[in-house]
């Protein structure tokens, strides 16, 4: 009845050894040839087994070096339900920084790359723009403790520029926050936002930037901010690798503090 393929049996055996701690986190596995000798299997079969483990993000292979058990990064937790009228003004950048600081980590953000673009239909639709209308796009890479953490792109209607919010075109951070800047210059107040949380396979750029495997998955969160008239005033699309990011959503009053120790640990 042992009809499970050999490579799966080998993968299962290695997985058990890793999860029970027999093979330590961060340590190096035997080489493919050694494993082949141990399990009496060909190197290709061993490679199939290891491929399963990489898919489970249990190990990672490094050409020229070997195969190593992955160490789980302490996940960064982002609160999606920060009050839009308090604190940092609900700017997504500000929320990000405050959350990071709360965990005593060192955040960095690259200067925005600014582009003018006719957006894809999915973007234009969320901003309720007619087809072919340009947008201002501000793209940033974000790191925590030097680790690539997220890729973020914010889209604003071109109209905002004509109405005076010209600093959206400068490739510099808007220190007081884009939301406050827009309130001061063109009297647009953010009264709320909606996040749309999805997950999808990472594309090549994301794989390279985050240093994740070619079968890795990322969160893609679309945050549409609405002004006092109920119209969308900004769309922010942020991509987070799932191996180092989690999110919390608070509903109701008087919730106890979300101690981050409460997070699910991986050793289920």
């Amino acid at each position: 009845m042992a009809k499970t393929p050999m490579y799966q049996q080998i993968a299962e055996d290695l997985r058990a050894q890793i999860e029970t701690g027999k093979i330590a986190r961060g340590s190096q596995l035997p080489t493919e040839l050694e494993l082949g000798a141990r399990y009496n299997a060909s190197r290709n079969t061993i490679r199939d087994a290891i491929k399963r483990l990489t898919g489970l993000q249990l190990v990672e292979t490094r050409p020229g070096q070997g195969t190593f058990v992955t160490i789980n990064i302490d996940p960064f937790v982002t609160d999606l339900t920060a009050d839009p009228k308090t604190g940092f003004g609900g700017g997504e950048g500000a929320t990000y920084l405050s959350q990071v600081s709360a965990k005593h980590r060192r955040p960095e953000t690259t200067s925005p790359r600014v582009e003018l673009q006719i957006p894809p239909t999915a973007i234009g639709r969320r901003l309720r723009l007619a087809a072919g209308v340009q947008v201002v796009l501000r793209h940033q890479q974000r790191f925590i403790d030097g680790i690539p953490w997220s890729l973020q792109t914010s889209y604003y209607p071109m109209d905002f520029i004509h109405r005076g919010a010209t600093r959206l075109l400068t490739a510099e951070d808007i220190k007081e926050g884009a939301v406050r800047y827009l309130a001061e210059t063109i009297s647009l107040t953010q009264t709320g936002y909606r996040d749309w949380v999805t997950a999808r396979p990472a594309d090549d750029n994301e794989q390279k930037f985050f240093g994740i495997g070619h079968d890795a998955v990322v969160f893609e969160i679309f945050r549409t901010a609405f002004d006092q008239h109920g119209n969308p005033m900004r769309l922010t699309v942020t991509v987070f690798p799932t191996d180092r990011n989690q999110f919390i959503v608070n509903v109701g009053d008087n919730l106890p503090d979300p101690r981050y120790e409460e997070g699910p640990d991986e050793s289920t």
Copy 2:
């Protein structure tokens, strides 16, 4: 300079043909041997290329039949920020049903499987239980239009049983909702909840139940409900496949209706 491996070039070529519509959604790809002849590559190389495409969820292979371009399921969107004091009482089951009905889909839920258990540390910690304390566990499978949609497990402190909420032990749906039942029997009112959103590779059970590949990823959402004293009264863990589920989070008042057409389409 063409240092990109052959199998990646082939995968890229096929991907482009699929995304431009040259190969229709749902249609069958040529067999591995035919592709090998077309690209002048060995069957194993073709298989490596196809493995990349399955990782991107662009194609799926069926033994004995062939390889087919995947048809994307119309994603189901769940609102994580339903008001806990209105409507269906904030029961997670109720939220699920109302959301599904809003899309004119047919939901089904299996009768709960009830267990008594000493929970894993991650569960006990979230319910603030001492180590070794038992919980009541209610597990359900959920479908929409016959498609497996989510796996849900709710955990309640055993204490609730002793205080009179004995219907938690019956393997039947609590029609009025567990939240209302607890309010009526042991005077516990849910005043809010916190969702903790994570993503991880699917385990074997989940792969089998959802019919997803062995490198598929699932959302795992931990919902901790709090009572009027600020204590956790229930933990609900729900697993959703990422290929057919999305979530929205509303913050602020007067948000426009989330027309589901606004969802991101896959043809980016």
